[in-house]
Symmetry: C2
Subunit: 412 residues, 2 copies
């Protein structure tokens, strides 16, 4: 029998009623002839309660104990859903991470899955079990202690199971009904996409369209796991949601798939840096060590041995970045005249695999922004994405203008 992975997030299993509704969706796929592996999150609010207790007990907590406490929420949901399915006469049982076992690194609270042996669950499928309900977000370290994958890790668990079991598809049930051309709160013209390529989804996810955890999309891309994002609050249907898949599967597509944004960005510029080989490493090494997530980087042409270096990071990391740069200056590692930061900028990006074969996307983007009188402060490009930093007050306007310019309201 083919295998399907279904993942239900916290709002989809928030209480016993919702667990019952999710179980009906599972039953539907069992009736469709699938053996199903269900990955569940904790009932919404439970993980936050547990995290709160840990933080109150020990602000600088031992991550091994944190993981043991916080993982318990998923175990409860897994058992309850297995019971609910049994009540519907579907042979089901629950698995906690260590029982599978989901083998991870020992990086507690942010562990990575290393291996998922399939024998135990396959043996039960062979005996007639139809549904394995697995507690998401957790695993077991080489030392036999419980690990967690970090918040949102249940998506990653789901994709990893789909890869390990060669599942036909991995359905991620959430509280949105798919991936949109842009945030529908910014423009009502936003259109739900039927399909989107892994690469595009990855750019959209990392740009702040928080439908799927970035790591889960990376993993899906690497193992070519077909991911479907859909709402657990809509009537079930076979073509609901958005399929995230290999670009080969997408016959027709717009040049640009979507417009993404990231509101709270800061632009920082080191003015008149003494330029020398290795200067970039001398700047970005300390920033990385300080936990600053540098995004865009632009270096001006060097004049008389000095240059300006501009980078962007989330606004809440500006203080850390400034401290790291002053320390590096103090220790003589780098030399610059001034550090200026602009904390009132946002990033807007257009994303699409069609850009690879279509020239003129950048020109069209800049033209659309210019027509609205929006000044571009920094530009970066990749093969399938063009991003600009602009004044934050123009962010919504920019998203709307770009959505119109690329006619994203129309399907390809």
């Amino acid at each position: 029998m083919p295998t399907l992975v279904m993942k239900f997030g916290g709002t989809s299993v928030a209480n016993l009623d919702r667990i019952a509704r999710a179980s009906k969706r599972v039953a539907r796929e069992v009736a469709n002839g699938y053996n199903v592996i269900v990955i569940v999150s904790a009932m919404s609010g439970k993980t936050n309660e547990l995290v709160g207790w840990v933080n109150e007990t020990s602000p600088l907590y031992d991550a091994r104990e944190y993981d043991g406490v916080v993982s318990s929420g998923e175990n409860v949901t897994a058992g309850l859903m297995a019971l609910r399915l049994q009540e519907m006469d579907i042979p089901a049982r629950s698995w906690q991470g260590w029982q599978v076992p989901v083998k991870t690194t020992d990086a507690h609270s942010s562990a990575r899955i290393e291996e998922i042996p399939t024998e135990n669950i396959e043996a039960k499928f062979a005996e007639g079990m139809r549904v394995a309900v697995v507690a998401g977000f957790q695993g077991i370290s080489p030392e036999g202690r419980i690990t967690t994958l970090g918040r949102g890790g249940s998506d990653t668990t789901a994709v990893a199971f789909a890869a390990a079991f060669g599942a036909e598809r991995c359905d991620i049930y959430t509280d949105v009904d798919g991936v949109y051309t842009t945030d529908p709160r910014i423009t009502s013209k936003a259109r739900k996409l039927d399909k989107i390529a892994f690469e595009e989804m990855l750019e959209l996810a990392s740009l702040g369209a928080k439908v799927l955890q970035t790591r889960s999309v990376e993993l899906a891309m690497r193992y070519k796991v077909r991911l479907r994002v859909l709402s657990s609050f809509e009537e079930p249907s076979d073509d609901a949601g958005t399929l995230v898949c290999d670009e080969e599967e997408i016959m027709e597509s717009n040049v640009v798939a979507g417009v993404a944004y990231s509101r709270d960005e800061a632009k920082m510029t080191l003015i008149s840096v003494a330029d020398r080989p290795g200067i970039a490493a001398a700047i970005f090494g300390p920033l990385s060590e300080a936990g600053v997530n540098v995004d865009m980087i632009v270096q001006n042409i060097s004049e008389e041995g000095r240059t300006d270096m501009t980078f962007s990071c989330p606004t809440d990391q500006v203080l850390r970045a400034e401290k790291a740069m002053e320390e590096a200056k103090g220790s003589g590692e780098i030399n610059f005249h001034d550090l200026v930061s602009d904390q009132e900028v946002s990033k807007v990006s257009v994303v699409g695999i069609g850009m690879r074969s279509h020239a003129g996307v950048a020109a069209k983007m800049f033209e659309a922004l210019h027509a609205e009188g929006i000044n571009i402060k920094v530009i970066t490009t990749s093969e399938i994405k063009i991003s600009v930093l602009i004044d934050r007050k123009y962010m919504e306007l920019a998203v709307q203008a770009l959505h119109d310019a690329f006619e994203l309201e129309k399907a390809a």
Copy 2:
């Protein structure tokens, strides 16, 4: 270093403040030079919440799933207490049942502990760890699934650990400050006992003095684990509570240690049963199968091949008992004229190892009841206990009269 086992029940770890207070008691014993194994229950209310969810999801639940869900409460407390102890600079870590592993039978929801290998925890003690916080009430079956020991099973976990590790003592922290000569709500003359023998405690526990789970006392007696019952709400001191120990340790004791009672008993009589070899088995077999906990049994002298058979059971099992007897009569297994039940009786018992060597305890007991005009309906005796069934309305009066008659307000 000597090992001490400390067990904290649900009310003693009901919230973060109480967990912090319990941790202080643990710290005190660490300072006294012990390596400590702490057994914790779930925060009070948590297990009931989980049990409620299971029952609502699946009234006739799969006990394996029940165990997986319900055991999660203890895991949370174990992690939180380990964190709290670490905050106090005490090297501590938590263990879930399967990590130790606490090996049990596969009788889910009422499993028995079969073995507790000590290597893993001993190895950590050898590395300098001072406290192992273990989730109580749970273990792992031969098939690798989570089991629970039944409600109150954390006491049993504690005693089993004390036996396995050869602990100097097993301290059970609860919401009462010790074992009393009788229920202080019935007579203010009730006196806290400093020491009580295992056998006496066993009779008191099974008679409804719900300080300790019966199984845990049985286990303590078998492995000669010195048990101390004490309150987690009083100031710590070395001679707090009541020590439950081998009778050898008790130099002086009253002939009678305490007066116990069980309020809601029923007396049932099968009238004119056709007597034959095996008739007792024919009666009590079906009762046992129907889940009736038969306590006292009295058989009249047989006349002309017929006899009366009287037994007692909890009042809420009377319907089940009647059904089982009617069915046995219907199938021809037994033959009786009538079944009469009296649901307005209570059991009162005097318990004491001193009875073994002192005659006249029964006479004194009957005399005291007679002096109050209390009619005795059924009598049973064991080596260290005399129990009577009486009308429920006299129960408190009987307890007070017996407490006075045996002068239990005075220490030996």
